[in-house]
Subunit: 155 residues, 2 copies
DNA sequence: ATACCTTAGTTGAAGCTTCAACTATACGTG
DNA sequence: CACGTATAGTTGAAGCTTCAACTAAGGTAT
C-alpha cells in the first residue's frame, strides 16, 4: 500500500461496481427468500450452515464466525428461529458458558424445501452471465478481500 | 444458463467468498465511518453522490437509482440528514411531483472532512492486497453482476 | 485458593430498513 | 378534456441490527 490515500481511476471504477453489487444483491436475495420461503437471507444462511454441520449443531460462537456476524445478531436470530420451531438451544457439555444451536427436523425440512429456489436465484443473479474464468476470478479476488477483512477484525 | 439448478463446485467456492465479503464489508466500513465521522456508510454514500452532482443537487428518484436504494429508504435518510443541516429539500421547478435534495455547504464540508478516512478504509480493506489485474477482474465481474441485478429489478 | 482477565452468551433500547398505504402530479388515450 | 394509469415522494408501523451493559464461566498467575 503506497502513501497516497486516494483511489486511482481503475480502483474507483471497481469500487463503484463492487458497491453496486453489495448494495443490491442482499436486497434481491432477501426479496426472493421472503416471498418464496418467508425467510430472511440471513436466517436461511444460518440454517443452511447448521444443516451442513456435524449433528446439525454448532456452538453459537463458531456459527457466528462461520456466518460472519456478531454473537448478538446470531443470538437474536436463533431466538426467532427457536420460536418458529426450526432451531433449539442446548447447553454445551464441554463448556458451560457455551450454547449449541441445533437444527430441528422441521428446520432441516425448511432448508431442503427453500434451497432450490434460493440457489436458482443465486445462479440467476450472480452466475448467469459469468464464464469459468469469471467465476475463478471472483473466487480469487473475493478470497483476498475476505482474508483482509479477517485480519482487520482481530488484528 | 443450463437446466441444472445447483451450483457446481467452483461456483460454490466463489459464492462463499463473495458472501463473506458482502456480509462483512458493510459492517467494517460502517464501523470506520461511525467512529471517525458519526455517519452511516449509506449516509456518506448519499452525500458523496450529491457532492459530485451538478449544483450539488439531485432529484430523489435519480439519487435513489444512483445509490441503489428504494425511494423510501432515501427519503428517510434525507430527513435525517436534513435534521443535521447537511441536506435540504427543494421543489423541482420542472416536475411538481419531484423533490430535489441539495447538499448544503455544511454537508459538503462534512463529506470533504470524512472522505480521506473513508477512502483509506476502502483501500485498506478492499484494495490493499490486489494487483492491477485483480482490480480489473473485480470491476469486470462486478460489472456483469450489477448489470444482471439491474435487469432483474425492472424486467 | 484468590484475584484478575478473557470468552460465551443474553438482553433491552435505539436506530435503520422495509413494507404497505397514501397523496399528488404527470402522462396517454379515446 | 376526462379517465385511467404510472410515477414521485412521504409516512408510520413492524422487524432486524447494532450497541452497550450485564451475567456467567473458563484460564492464569501469584
Amino acid at each position: 500500500m503506497d502513501a497516497n490515500p486516494w483511489l486511482d481511476e481503475a480502483e474507483q471504477r471497481a469500487w463503484r461496481e463492487l458497491a453496486a453489487v453489495f448494495l443490491r444483491l442482499p436486497g434481491a436475495l432477501e426479496t426472493q427468500l421472503q416471498r418464496d420461503a418467508g425467510l430472511s437471507h440471513f436466517e436461511y444462511w444460518v440454517m443452511a450452515l447448521l444443516s451442513e454441520a456435524d449433528g446439525r449443531a454448532r456452538r453459537l460462537r463458531d456459527l457466528a464466525d462461520q456466518a460472519n456476524c456478531s454473537l448478538s445478531r446470531l443470538s437474536h436470530v436463533v431466538t426467532r428461529l427457536e420460536r418458529r420451531g426450526w432451531v433449539q438451544r442446548h447447553p454445551d457439555p464441554d463448556d458451560a458458558r457455551s450454547t449449541r444451536a441445533v437444527l430441528t427436523d422441521a428446520g432441516y425440512g425448511k432448508v431442503v424445501e427453500s434451497a432450490p429456489g434460493h440457489v436458482a436465484a443465486v445462479r440467476a443473479l450472480v452466475f448467469a452471465d459469468l464464464d469459468e474464468r469469471d467465476v475463478a476470478a471472483l473466487e480469487r479476488v473475493c478470497g483476498i478481500i475476505a482474508a483482509r477483512l479477517d485480519r482487520s477484525s482481530d488484528g
